[in-house]
Symmetry: C2
Subunit: 223 residues, 2 copies
DNA sequence: AATATTTTTTAGATTAATCTAAAAATAGTA
DNA sequence: TACTATTTTTAGATTAATCTAAAAAATATT
């Protein structure tokens, strides 16, 4: 059975993400939504993936689908490639963090393993990408980090921004304007019950008002 | 009419190369040979390419095919991308010149124009790739250089190696062994009629015997 | 539990890119 | 020039990846 195709890879990635998020088998509908296709197409693809040697997914009709060990390995490697390319684009080619997703989405399908090894080395074997997401190593191990959402940070406790939950360009661009980039130091001065806003001290200097929506999408690590 | 596909791009590149080489329309058979497909498939592809808006090729049945202005623009841009990626692989990721062709063959199909602009900048807007081939600029202009084959170099005239005609891995690897890399200084000490070999002085130091075949595939520039 | 709603699968069709085999056109040669 | 050989095109088939519409299964609601 031929080398794995881009469409197959993207389905694996979607299934991986869904199963990680919910710990339940991924539904055809949910996969179709991510892939921007229809449930019927997903069913066909699942059948093809489960017919691979070795099989990449386990599925029972109407019961959703999970990745096998082999499928997980492939999905993890894709995520590794995606995040390394994003890092390259930001660190070396001066893209900003809101621009890199779509380009990395294409680059992640380049096959040569040696390329990704060398790229990893060139970048200094980074553990996190420009959005603060962990980059798995060549064996597929992620680095975990005790991080919390800014909404969970206790008042006056100092912390640094280490990542985002929502990585949509519009949110990232808004953060740019607020100077809320990775590494920024933050402290919650006050949580205002009245409108759910948060008074924040940013980099020990400026005060800033953040809505709960923003705080719910920012990961921080206490100092 | 949708974005241009990888298969379409590769056909354009093949046609470009053939027409540049011979100044004649490219034949379906010749294209099929490069594409490793069959003439019938090429005919089908040509019909598709000529139906694009704007049309990418001009063809009359049984008379071969040429690129239109629009087709040439696309082909040139592909060559630009291919050569910039090769340069990146060698200069930044420490690949050797015999390893980069196939990887660049994949990378050249990544679409984002901004990516290639930034890459060009990152590499310092190089004019030649690791094999000495010119890299067209964003407008499609190639830098020409008066270069000759080593077989044409007059006896005792000093010159530097600036490129290769044959860029097959086996030839490039052989050149590595002989220390005949880009920038090496060469002088022809003697052309031996007996066996068609050439006595060369390399980097003002070592003497080296090169066959005519090697000399016919090495471009040099006189000093 | 019976029925209605939603989700998933099946069936059948479409498009891109390829193939083989046969027909048609061009080129080469006696 | 007429015949032969080669090249190109046409015709018809195949596979991957998608679609729509309908059928079947699972889930939710009275």
């Amino acid at each position: 059975m031929n080398p794995i195709s881009k469409a197959e890879e993207n389905h694996l990635k979607a299934i991986f993400t869904l199963c990680e998020e919910s710990d339940k088998p991924a539904s055809t509908n949910a996969i179709a939504k991510i892939m921007k296709t229809k449930a019927a197409s997903v069913t066909a693809m699942i059948i093809r993936l489960s017919g691979k040697e070795p099989s990449l997914v386990n599925h029972q009709k109407h019961k959703g689908v999970r990745l096998t060990k082999a499928g997980k390995k492939l999905a993890t490697n894709l995520i590794r490639k995606h995040r390394l390319w994003e890092t390259f684009l930001v660190e070396k080619l001066n893209f900003s963090w809101d621009e890199v997703h779509d380009i990395a989405e294409e680059l992640e399908h380049i096959k040569a393993e040696k390329l990704i090894d060398r790229l990893d080395e060139f970048l200094g074997r980074p553990k996190f990408d420009p959005h603060g997401d962990p980059i798995p190593d060549a064996e597929g191990n992620f680095t975990y980090r005790k991080q919390i959402l800014l909404t969970e940070l206790v008042k006056n406790q100092a912390a640094v921004v280490v990542g985002v939950l929502d990585d949509s360009p519009s949110f990232l661009q808004y953060l740019n304007k607020l100077n809320l980039v990775l590494g920024a130091k933050v402290q919650v001065l006050e949580r205002v019950d009245y409108d759910g806003s948060n008074r924040i001290l940013l980099n020990d200097q400026q005060e800033q008002i953040l809505t709960n929506k923003v705080c719910q999408n920012l990961y921080v690590k206490t100092l």
